[in-house]
Symmetry: C2
Subunit: 508 residues, 2 copies
Amino acid sequence: MKLTVKLLDIGSRDVMLHRNDARNIGVMQGDRVQVLVEARGSSSSAFVDTTATLISQGTVGIYREVNERLGLNDGETVEVRESGRPTSLEYIRKKMDGERLSKDETTAIIRDVVNDTISPAELTAYITASYIHELNSDEVEYLTRAIVETGDQLTFHTHPIVDKHSIGGVPGNKISLIVVPIIAASGLKIPKTSSRAITGAGGTADLMEVLAPVEFSAEEVQTMTLKVGGAIVWGGATNIAPADDRIILQEYPFKIDARGQMLASVMAKKYAVGADLVVIDIPVGQGAKVTTMQEGRKLAREFIDLGDRLNMQVECALTYGDAPVGRGIGPNLEVREALRVLEGSTAPGSLIQKSLAIAGIALEMSGKAGKGQGAQVAADLLQSGKALEKMRQIIEVQGGNSAVKSDDIVPGQNEFIVRAPVTGYIIELNNKSLISLARTAGAPHDTGAGLLLHAKKGERVKAGDPLFTMYADRPWRLQKAIEEGRRLMPILVEGMLLDRIPDSKKWE
Amino acid sequence: MKLTVKLLDIGSRDVMLHRNDARNIGVMQGDRVQVLVEARGSSSSAFVDTTATLISQGTVGIYREVNERLGLNDGETVEVRESGRPTSLEYIRKKMDGERLSKDETTAIIRDVVNDTISPAELTAYITASYIHELNSDEVEYLTRAIVETGDQLTFHTHPIVDKHSIGGVPGNKISLIVVPIIAASGLKIPKTSSRAITGAGGTADLMEVLAPVEFSAEEVQTMTLKVGGAIVWGGATNIAPADDRIILQEYPFKIDARGQMLASVMAKKYAVGADLVVIDIPVGQGAKVTTMQEGRKLAREFIDLGDRLNMQVECALTYGDAPVGRGIGPNLEVREALRVLEGSTAPGSLIQKSLAIAGIALEMSGKAGKGQGAQVAADLLQSGKALEKMRQIIEVQGGNSAVKSDDIVPGQNEFIVRAPVTGYIIELNNKSLISLARTAGAPHDTGAGLLLHAKKGERVKAGDPLFTMYADRPWRLQKAIEEGRRLMPILVEGMLLDRIPDSKKWE
């Protein structure tokens, strides 16, 4: 049916049809249609919203995400048709029935995900089926390749290209802000795409955005990397591995992170930027995603095997994930801490040691450092100021202020100090509670929000000593965080004497 | 955040927020919010659409389905809050992990489905997980009860109440239009709720709507049943077992019909109308949902067991499902055929025999007929005209024209006769192709659309004899059906000689 376009500024992938037009086309609320722009030979699928009043018969309301694809103007004519059932639904059904999917079937599903030909509910069925019927190595490889092929890719003509990735779950893990400039300062190239926080207090992209814009096309990332050796950008803006963002979004409500999808997600992003050498940081600990060394080793082996299949050399580092890295949690606090390290600060030790270890592995893999010498070579690049100089170049090439100093980055004005209720030892720092508290205070959206830890696990504190400070950009956010802090108690202080077992016999 | 209401006539369960308001509340496109009407103590959850232009800051656009719950007027003030993560997502995750769900957990999920607290994608995860990790008998019972409890129910003070259900998949299965009046004519009560076609050419509700309105509340169904002994209504309008519709909608794209959900779906609707005696018609055949007698018997046993748990007496009939029931497929054609049988026609035999068999079982279960006498008692009620008289009462009580005659119901004006290409025998009638063709011609929405079969399986036809006629209300629909008919060939004619196997040795 031919309909006249009316653009609607609603942020979803739907079209609005008058109820009578919908009936004539043969579709109902929620059904799938094809919108064809015959003059230009372009088309998009979309889901149907129906109305009897908001638009008149003969008109189709085109929502924002549909028009990002079609680029229509008000008053143009389009053809709207009932859309056939996508073949990829058959393949999802196959996966539900426990069968293995071929490369072509996997690619068809991922292509339909990226084109929004299948709905979020349909994608969820695929994710759930793949979570229950775990993907085997072949399927993981197919998924990885499909995620890569349905997005943009970087192509470098000089090699090696280096990349790193940290499995999430540990608060304050701002090491990319130190590792990337060290590696780039060694003369290697590292086009680092990173994520924004979904469940965390700040992803690397949220942190970098404090210093410079992070939204670039794949081509711009490539140009910047060629120019200064590295970049730290938000992957979501690049159209690199776009299917991955959608998969993660649908996994989010269930807090699942199906092994196969997780492997594909990480490795697709490395493959798509053209990486030859990849370091994967796997934090292991009670509060981390991976809780035992055994599990960590198994996961490491899977990353390495997938790397082999994709012709990438992968090395994994199992790292201490029981407690936050460094002392700051939340964008400004983390960026200030990382800049201080680049400026020469010798604390916090946990942040510096971890950054040098990860950077060192990459330097050894590339031959920039001899075996066992990587961390030392990394330390030299840090202490000589070369890493700081490189970070300034990266900030500048991304359009930020390269003269920035750590003291320019300040936490939110509203603060509250949480003090030790008793004298004793810090026996627990709860990662999940710390992250939750930083988010309640406003992180990552309010960049000044977050937590600064004054004491770490095993340290002795006196009653009244500060344990941590909560910062917020907005007073009511601070208030909510204070209330939640009372409930969650993310840091526990106890005397060395944890319990007394009395003799049941009384002294007489 | 307090916002001013602006009603938006869009048929989904969303609210529209200005981008800045969304940011302040802390939600993004697609997130879940709670809308509270503090003055009335009512609330609803909803999903977020964001805009920068369609509504101004300080205003919230309330979509139709949200307002069905809240009954707001333009200009009222509501509180819109970020919504916590529903606990039922934990239970869905449990099911994904292969665990069994308790009654309370199942009820929590189904309650959130009915309240739209969980999204279609989240419901799909539950359905997929339950499809893969099949529900056991306890879980099926919990699900059945939860579907019943989250909707309206009928309560009769006289017993027994009878109900029937046909498992779908066989075209032309209009038997309810004959079975219900026979049973009601015997003095029994049968409040029949039925479905509209999702994948078929016409559900019982679509057929009955040709004769009378079918949209009533549960209370109205009860009143009508008390008055004339029976009713044939659309279950979707009653708020009986509302969760079931949503489950079926999400299953639809994958053409799955998970055994546990199917059992619960059918039996919840029987339980909710207060049925004591239930006859389940299970068509068995190549083109039906159940393809072997063994599978049919297993399913029958499961229906009977679930009935026991719910204190309902269930009897199942395995019926011939290899070919359409009767000769008409599509609303008007089927209604005309059923009315003709009620008016005394002695054809088609398949329709009459099946209707009498199913009605007979119910009559025997209730004691209205002796063992083995049910079909004969049913035949008497049909031949005496009592069933026709009862059908007229049912049509009248539902607001239709009780003087209607079969000849008043005519198929679409646009017709095309498909003829036998060769002389031979009808060797195949393909159920799925016949349904698809009827739908292409416009059924069930265009009530005149459908197919009328002139020859059935095993019959001999001469080249040029009519095989079937396609009817459509609209010429272009007929055209599409003709094209599709050429491709699908739903009826195959072959000579008795199906193939020749030549000797490889040549005669010399």
